[in-house]
Amino acid sequence: MIKSKKTMDARGGGPGRISKEEIINMVLRRKRPAHETEGSGPLLKLENLVKIYDTGAIKVLGLKKINLTVDRGEFVAIMGHSGSGKSTLMNILGCLDRPTLGHYYLDGVDVAEMTPDELSDIRNRKIGFVFQSFNLISRTSALKNVELPMTYARVPKAKRVERAHMLLERVGLGARQDHMPNELSGGQRQRVAIARALANQPPLILADEPTGNLDTASSIEIMELFRQLHKEGATVVVVTHEEDIAAFADRVIRFSDGQVQSDTLNTHHPGEGPVDGMEDILEEEAEDAD
């Protein structure tokens, strides 16, 4: 009897068998209480962030110990070629994916160990997505599309419709709120998507190649809209591989091989400097075509 009790005590008090990996995780992912930091400090903070893709046979290192901070109100472009890890970073920043190691604080909250439903909630309230292929729900009016994030946030119907209408007015599509996505041009669809991204007044606007499917004129319109949102105080992160799109941002972070290659400030925005922005872009496009 006594012996068995001792064994139990020893088991209860001892460290037990924990793998090395788990210890690393425990140290790296010590959660900070949300209320201490939420709403203040940097909007995005990445600490020793590592992403490993486990494809079964081989493990691919997607992101190698990223440390990055984005403050509130910044307009950041994340650049890199395909395979540079910028899409992986975009998925983690958008709370669509979780880091393998390290911390990601969004609005002061560590999202590394949240459940899929908690992540859904974070995406709903804190992130406004703008995708390359617009990702509007087909056969659903522009207004309904803009309402959708508010529907999942359980906003009452009347308030939802009012705000969706206001947002569509804001992006210049008030008259087209009842149009279906396939009745709108690419630029108009992307503006609906931006209105949708703003629906729950998220602190972060996250755009993934937002002009990838648009012609030059629409691209400029969309980027001007982002600049406008930035001037009004929104934090905008645009992931792109195009220099002329990145040129609209205040800060350009270049990615290569899963690591930050450079982090520079950009003061020369298209249409603001001595060089005409439009011509500049067209010139570069011509170069790209070669």
């Binding site: 958008g94 669509l96 994916d97 899929p116 509007l136 087909s138 999942y152 949708r196 729950n200």
Partner: protein, 404 residues
Amino acid sequence: MLIENMKMAFSAIRANKMRSALTMLGIIIGIGSVISIVSIGDTMRGLFADLYKDVGITQAYFSIGYWVDDVRQSDYFNLDEMERAREAFSDQIAYIDSSAFTSDEASYKRTKIKFEYQGIDYNYQDVQPVDMVYGRYLNEGDILGRKKNVVMDTDSARMLFGVENAVGKTFRTTLYGSTDDFTVVGVYRKNMNAFQALMMGGSNSDKGSAFIPYTLLTWPNDNFYQLHVYAKDDVNLDLFFSQFKSYVAKMHGRQPEDIYMYTAMQEMTSVDSMMGGLSMAVGGIAAISLLVGGIGIMNIMLVSVTERTREIGIRKALGARTRDVLIQFLTESAILSACGGIIGVIMGVGLVSLGGALLGMPVVIKPGVILVAVSFSAVVGIFFGLYPASKAAKSDPIDALRYE
């Protein structure tokens, strides 16, 4: 949120009209056939109940059990015993006779037809009413005076005499060895619907039948095999019949278990439970088609989930939780299935009503059956929608967004 989900479900169902209609078809056929078969079964039971009511649900026969080996002279009845029984149970007995039947050839001019004669008392029409069209029923005078008068139905009259109104006509027949002339005093019309005629062996029988005074078939010193009793309407049949059985046993120095009792009630109950079992069994087979319909729904929902992978990804990226997606797809399959169920009910009820109208029979459609059918179809939708919906709900938003 529920209303939102229902709106989304309806728009998704509308978006693929043809596919939705075909998917529903399985449920429509399933529910339609369950409703029709159960209703046909219920209608048949109702018809049987009516049939037994016409036959006389309060009647019973009593005799010595066919399983009794040492049948004695005293196991038979005589008219004295019958009168004593009538008096002993005067509050319960509506009618009693000696259950006398015989048959012989009846001849009128050149026509010779086999006739069946049932010996009755004058008040037989109280318990077994008939629709007299010509003449009168047998009266007390006929019975007590042992008059050679008969009452027959119109079909028998037409067969023997060539006319329906045979009142006053006489024919010749032999009862228990003595040949006599009998006079028709009344003619009645058999009122049977198509179903009853079918069950009773049809009206195109080549035999005639007639009622004659039982006193012609059962003489005061005769022994007869069984008593035929009708209880009054307000009597507790089970109690009365068991009391009467004991009375008969005691009268003949037997135990009640030696007496054979045959009641219309037990016959009807057994037919009814057989019919009930039959319609349950066939309904169960029809319910298999519901299962097939449900699998159809699951199949289509799986296709739909795969097709809408990207939509699911978008919804998840915008903040839809696992539960939101699950409920959205469950709502869709439940609505698909319930719509099929409602259409199936309409078709089933329509079909049964049409059949009833064509056959000129009132049909029984129980509201409970409709309720159960529609709720069952919704349950089928939810059950078979569960797997596709959970597949949709669990999908990873990154994979779903990457899906083309």
